[in-house]
């Protein structure tokens, strides 16, 4: 691998990301599966770095899931997105920061479509007006929240309490970065680093002390693929894709996986359990799985936030071995205590995948 | 005539006795082995055939005419025939006369076995008898005949073309030993008898020789050594005989009754086929006959070498030679012995084991028949079923012409494989896979039976041969289109016009040699244009080179064969080449400088409906 070659490509794909004043668009999946991740993005942005991020309760889903599941036509998705833009405009923001990769892809795709076919935009404006009496301005910038986190990576590194380094050996942790398909595969120039060698996550990993591994199937989809998972008959196909990725990364003995998409961490995490129970195969050390994190979780960990505050107890794959490796302290007893110290109950343990 | 040596024995006869004993034992052993290899049924058939006076008489006649007189060789080339019959018949007569002499003069010595061979050594002439003179003359006459044959044989080794042979067989080492010892036997006999002629008597050949010898050598010391030499030459010849081409002499005498008994080749290397292989005299007629011989490298793959390799058991070469052959049948047609080389080759191919065998159980006859003939087919006398065959599908002009001709003649017909059909099974059979071919045959039989037709009309001689020979189509007439059209014309259901074309007809192997149809196409063509003949024609016609018989000949290797066949066809400057086989048509069209057409096409162009 010629590192300079990669750097050259990264330099070719640098997008303009304004430093401040963002309208935050939440993700349907993440709000439910990784609620702490979104919270911590706002917390790091607002409290640690003093950024202005608007989190408005009136915005909705972007329609991406229904759109990619073939349940709504694109015009409907466009009108939903137009409403998000309208709320952004109403709130006085010009930059939109979706927390979801699918939303990001959806916004980008719709904006590109309007650019090519202005008559569609006009039609959507009309539909939005008819349905909600709202008007919108085209956002000046669309950046995924991982893009924004990428711009913060060095500041976070400065303020970090931990680094992605094995405490025992002093070696950098081997990190698999997994980018959501809709981040830059459709529009390589809309992603930091392009589609082939994106550096949005690898940039964070490198800044925080880890080492990104380049395994052959790094470009491959996590396996979610909307219809592939949502239709039960297709789930074998969904998990097979995930399986393919794990088989490909396993020889590199990755310590962790970092992701920027709502579906990917969920499926990379949960499918490890299913593969273990189906095939008896696990990919981490000593019968554990490979822990999968969102970039906010990783940022939170290096910044020294409590792992349970970051919601890591909601992961299927046990995170404790990694926390031990980095040297992050945690209270095992507090793992299943809720915000109000109430016991949220310990889930049953799988047969083949080692968990706590 | 009296005994000259009272004991009636001299040591020089020992070599002869050794050789003779060896040959007889070997032949007996061989005969028993062959008999054991025959199936019980065949063995019974063979022995019972001797009880049938008709077959017995045929056996005797065939052995006499073929083994001694070589009538087939006479037909081919007089000089060649003379050469062979002078040696074989002359030698035979020497032996017969030797015995007669013994019977006449010294009947008591007959059981010594060697007296008839060395008669002149053991006797002294007493008061000359008329009978003795006659014998002396006859003995010298036949010896002279044999010597003529030997001289011719020596000339043939150098100038085979005089005998009508472009190429002769390359002899193996033992063959050479056998040949030279055979050549030596008769001059040595002449010398031996010459040296003793003043004692034992002689005639026009031996007496003058005796004068000369005695005038120059003056003593009788030469006498015994020459008899020794003669005996040793006989011994050498007989000792090597089983391992040389001369084995054909005893083998052919077994082959003829076996053939007359109606045996068939069942195994490439046993029984009947084995006798056939050993009956090959390596004369090399098949080398010139073989269409592949146009390329020198291929001459080693002709039948004579197949027989030799089978005798040697050289498996690799046996396979090569067996697979390469076009199965055109010409060698077999010209073979003096009647060795059915194509059948031996197919039997050899059939010995091969395959890790994967074809199976057509997934093909069901019903739907195919329905596709071809529709529902509720009624049987109708006179209705014709046309089967174009695979190869005709690649030369649609033939099937088109056929349909047009049938329509003009008002023939009611069904087209069995208009939308593609099954193969006839002949290619599979030729590849030596009779079980697979049988499966195909059964499927096709089913389809044909459900057509309601009583005539099966074929455009492809390859199909024709197998339909005729291997299908059980009782009640259905199998006919090739050349025959069928001829009949239509004869019955005035189709009227044809004579044209200015000068046409040469190429006999397709499977139609001519394969099925014996030579005349019908010629008669048909003679009504359409001026018919000229090729240089080699009829039974000797040259394969187009496209034959499916050959498994290994590649496209490039066939080019020279086709060009040679074309050269043969065009000697009399025809303006058009006619054939009756789609494969010949395709092969010739590729390289021909003049139009090549199927007989059906020519008829179609020059025929009209009869009102």
């Amino acid at each position: 691998m010629i590192y300079q070659g990669k750097q050259k490509i990264w330099s070719d794909y640098q997008k303009e990301i304004p430093a401040d004043h963002w309208f935050y668009a939440r993700s349907c999946i993440r709000q439910n599966f990784f609620p702490a991740s979104e919270t911590h993005f706002l917390k790091i942005g607002r409290e640690l770095l003093g950024k202005d991020i608007c989190d408005n309760e009136h915005h909705t889903t972007c329609g991406g899931i229904s759109y990619h599941s073939d349940t709504i036509p694109q015009e409907t998705a466009m009108t939903i997105v137009a409403r998000q833009f309208a709320i952004m405009t109403e709130c006085g923001y010009k930059n939109i920061a979706p927390s979801c990769i699918t939303s990001f892809g959806n916004y980008t795709e719709i904006l590109e479509t309007w650019r090519e076919f202005p008559e569609l935009e006009a039609k959507v404006r009309e539909m939005l007006w008819k349905s909600c009496r709202k008007e919108f301005e085209i956002p000046e910038h669309v950046a995924h929240t991982s893009d924004i986190m990428y711009t913060w990576r060095n500041e976070i590194a400065e303020k970090a309490k931990f680094r992605l380094i094995n405490k025992e050996t002093g070696e950098p942790l081997r990190v698999v970065e997994h980018i959501g398909c809709h981040y830059s595969k459709m529009f390589p120039h809309k992603g930091v680093g392009g589609a082939e060698y994106p550096c949005v996550l690898s940039g964070m990993v490198n800044s925080w002390g880890g080492q990104v591994i380049d395994y052959p199937e790094r470009r491959h989809c996590c396996g979610f693929g909307f219809r592939q998972y949502l239709v039960k008959a297709n789930r074998g196909y969904s998990i097979s894709n995930t399986h393919k990725k794990f088989e490909s990364m396993e020889p590199y003995k990755p310590d962790m996986i970092i992701t920027n998409c709502p579906g990917c961490p969920y499926f990379l995490d949960r499918w490890q359990y299913v593969i273990a129970e189906m095939e008896g195969r696990t990919y981490g050390e000593n019968g554990f799985g490979i822990p999968v994190f969102t970039y906010e979780e990783v940022a939170g960990l290096v910044l020294g936030y409590d792992p349970w505050d970051l919601g890591l107890q909601l992961h299927q794959v046990a995170v404790e071995p990694l926390l031990d490796k980095i040297g992050i302290e945690y209270d095992p007893k507090a793992k299943y205590l809720g915000l109000n110290e109430k016991d949220i109950m310990k889930p049953g343990l799988p047969e083949n995948l080692r968990c706590f | 005539m009296t005994d000259r040596i009272p004991a009636g024995f001299h040591p020089f006869v020992i070599p002869f006795l050794v050789g003779m004993g060896f040959v007889l034992l070997y032949c007996l052993y061989g005969f028993i082995r062959i008999m054991c290899q025959l199936s019980h049924k065949d063995r019974r058939k063979f022995f019972l055939s001797f009880l049938n006076p008709k077959i017995l008489w045929k056996d005797i006649k065939d052995i006499f005419l073929n083994c001694l007189i070589h009538v087939k060789l006479w037909k081919r080339n007089k000089l060649l025939g003379f050469m062979h019959s002078s040696i074989a018949f002359g030698w035979f007569m020497l032996i017969v006369l030797g015995h007669l002499e013994v019977i006449c003069f010294l009947p008591g010595r007959l059981r010594t076995f060697y007296y008839p061979i060395f008669f002149n050594f053991f006797v002294a002439e007493d008061n000359a008898t008329i009978g003795g003179q006659v014998f002396f003359f006859l003995m010298d006459f036949f010896l002279a005949l044999v010597l003529c044959g030997i001289i011719l044989a020596i000339i043939k080794r150098v100038h085979s073309l005089i005998f009508g042979m472009r190429r002769t067989t390359r002899l193996s080492l033992l063959d050479r030993v056998g040949l030279y010892s055979l050549w030596a036997i008769f001059p040595l006999r002449l010398l031996a008898e010459g040296f003793t002629a003043h004692i034992s008597g002689g005639s026009f050949l031996t007496i003058p020789l005796n004068w000369i010898a005695r005038a120059f050598l003056g003593n009788e010391l030469n006498m015994v050594p020459t008899w020794w030499a003669y005996s040793i030459a006989l011994c050498v010849f007989m000792c090597v005989l089983p391992f040389t081409r001369y084995m054909h002499i005893p083998a052919e005498m077994l082959l003829i009754p076996m053939r007359n008994a109606g045996l068939k080749i069942k195994h490439a290397r046993k029984g009947y086929a084995k006798v056939m292989v050993y009956s090959c005299p390596s004369c090399g007629v098949c080398i010139d006959a073989c269409p592949m011989s146009v390329k020198k490298a291929n001459t080693r793959d002709t039948t004579v070498y197949l027989n030799r390799q089978i005798r040697r058991g050289n498996e690799k070469r046996i396979e090569e030679i067996s697979d390469k052959c076009l199965l055109c049948g010409k060698c077999s047609e010209l073979c003096q012995i009647g060795i059915e080389a194509p059948k031996i080759r197919i039997a050899q191919r059939a010995r091969r084991k395959y890790g994967l065998n074809q199976n057509y159980s997934n093909i069901s006859v019903g739907p195919l028949a329905e596709k071809a003939f529709g529902h509720n087919v009624e049987a109708k006398p006179g209705k014709v079923l046309y089967f174009a065959g695979c190869m005709t599908q690649l030369t649609p002009r033939i099937s088109q012409a056929m349909e047009s001709v049938l329509q003009k003649a008002g023939v009611e017909y069904s087209y069995m494989d208009k939308d593609g059909g099954l193969c006839c099974g002949r290619p599979m059979l030729m590849a030596g896979r009779p079980d697979q071919a049988r499966q195909i045959i059964d499927k096709n039989t089913g389809i044909i039976r459900s057509s309601g037709c009583d005539t099966l009309l074929l455009s492809c001689p390859i199909c024709y041969k197998i339909f005729k020979e291997k299908y059980h189509l009782e009640g259905i007439r199998v006919v090739h289109h050349s025959e069928f059209i001829k009949e239509l014309v004869d019955q005035r259901r189709l009227s044809v016009r004579f044209g200015k074309d000068v046409i040469v007809y190429h006999d397709p192997c499977e139609l001519g040699r394969g099925s014996g149809i030579y005349e019908q196409p010629r008669e048909l063509l003679a009504a359409l244009g001026t018919l000229v003949e090729a240089e080699k024609t009829g039974k000797e016609s040259i394969c187009c080179g496209g034959s499916l018989g050959s498994l290994t000949l590649g496209f490039a290797q066939r080019e020279d064969l086709t060009k040679n066949a074309l050269r043969n066809l065009t000697v009399n400057l025809p303006s058009k080449i006619a054939t009756a086989c789609p494969l010949c048509l395709a092969s010739f069209s590729r390289y021909s400088d003049r139009p090549v057409e199927d007989i059906a096409e020519i008829v179609d162009q020059r025929s009209t409906k009869v009102d």
Binding site: E196, D214, Y215, R219 | -
Partner: protein
């Protein structure tokens, strides 16, 4: 007569010192003109000078180029020189060169040729990223010099050739076929098989376009004598496995199945695009570009060597992908056209 002679001694500016420029210069010298070759690089012979052997008869490229250079001894040659500006004055052009020379000429011959497609642009193939990915040009250079870090370090067991890199690819900005890559790939595959007889060689192609004299023979030989595997399908992505070998993915379109294979060397058959410097210079001369990105000829059937401007002619790959013999023929045609134009 005197006047005639003077005209005959005219100088003609040839832009580009590749084989088109050299051949045209030679012919113009023979016709009695003074050709002036302006070459931006430091050597003559262009791309061909960097190649090893030329199909179909494996003629040594360097000898051919050396002979061509020898044949233009009488011409004026300016190396490392570019055209700064040019003005039309009546029937003549005033051409200012970067070395300070100004030439007055009746005719300009553009022989700026092609430029190899920048294989970096096909990011998924990892040229410049993976250690074992090279281009057809790199390989020719290796044939000449035997020096390349990508070959020789590790044992080479499997080699892949990717056809159509930057050709027939709208997203790479070149929808046209580069014409010679197929036969080049096969030629190079054979040469590599000769170098590494135990290696398995795979050619990934979309179509095999072996249009030229004896090209098909290369194909048959490659299959029959060298056992080179031809896989119909465009390589979709290349990655590096843990041993540092290349994992190549494509679809085996004949099987209708995705296919992957691990390779030790991947050669990208970078296509031909119009020389960008040539295009810039052409726009300075107010010449048009055709829809395929190459310079526009007066007519693509009968008048390839003429431009739409009087006195400006083309030769070689500046008007489209050309083989070496086509380029040479075109250079000769251009020389004749220039001669006719001047004598009009």
């Amino acid at each position: 007569m005197l006047l005639e002679l003077k005209i005959m001694k005219d100088s003609i500016v040839i832009i580009g010192g590749g084989i088109a420029g050299l051949e045209a210069a030679k012919q113009l010298l023979t016709l009695g003109y003074t050709p002036i070759i302006v070459e931006k690089s430091d050597h003559l012979g262009g791309h061909v000078a960097g190649w090893n052997r030329l199909f179909p008869d494996m003629a040594p490229a360097q000898e051919i180029v050396a002979k061509m250079i020898k044949d233009v001894e009488g011409a004026n040659i300016f190396l490392e020189t570019e055209i700064i500006s040019s003005n039309k004055l009546g029937n003549t052009y005033i051409v200012n060169l970067s070395n300070g020379v100004t030439i007055r000429t009746k005719a300009i011959l553009i022989a700026t040729g092609f430029e190899l497609f920048d294989a970096h642009k096909k990011e998924e193939y990892g040229y410049g990223i993976y250690n074992q990915v090279m281009t057809n040009q790199d390989l020719e250079k290796w044939f000449n010099t035997s020096v390349d870090s990508r070959i020789g370090g590790k044992e080479i067991r499997k080699i892949g050739f990717v056809h159509c890199v930057g050709s027939r690819d709208v997203k790479a900005g070149n929808s046209q076929c580069s014409k010679v890559c197929c036969v080049t790939a096969i030629k190079q595959a054979i040469e590599m098989k000769q170098e590494f007889p135990d290696a398995e060689i795979y050619c990934f192609y979309m179509d095999l376009r072996l249009f030229g004299k004896k090209y098909e023979d290369f194909y048959i030989n490659a299959q029959k004598d060298y056992g080179i595997h031809f896989i119909r399908g465009r390589v979709s992505e290349v990655s590096e496995n843990i041993e540092g070998r290349l994992l190549v993915k494509a679809e085996d379109t004949l099987s209708g199945k995705p296919l992957k294979v691990t390779l030790d060397l991947l050669v990208l058959m970078a296509g031909m695009v119009c020389n960008q410097d040539g295009s810039k210079m052409a726009s300075m001369l107010r010449l048009e570009t055709d829809s395929d990105g190459f310079l526009r000829s007066k007519d693509n059937v009968c008048n390839i060597v003429e431009s739409n401007r009087h006195g400006i002619f083309y030769a070689g790959a500046c008007t489209g992908t050309k083989t070496v013999p086509e380029t040479i023929s075109e250079a000769r045609a251009a020389a004749l056209m220039i001669h006719n134009y001047i004598n009009e």
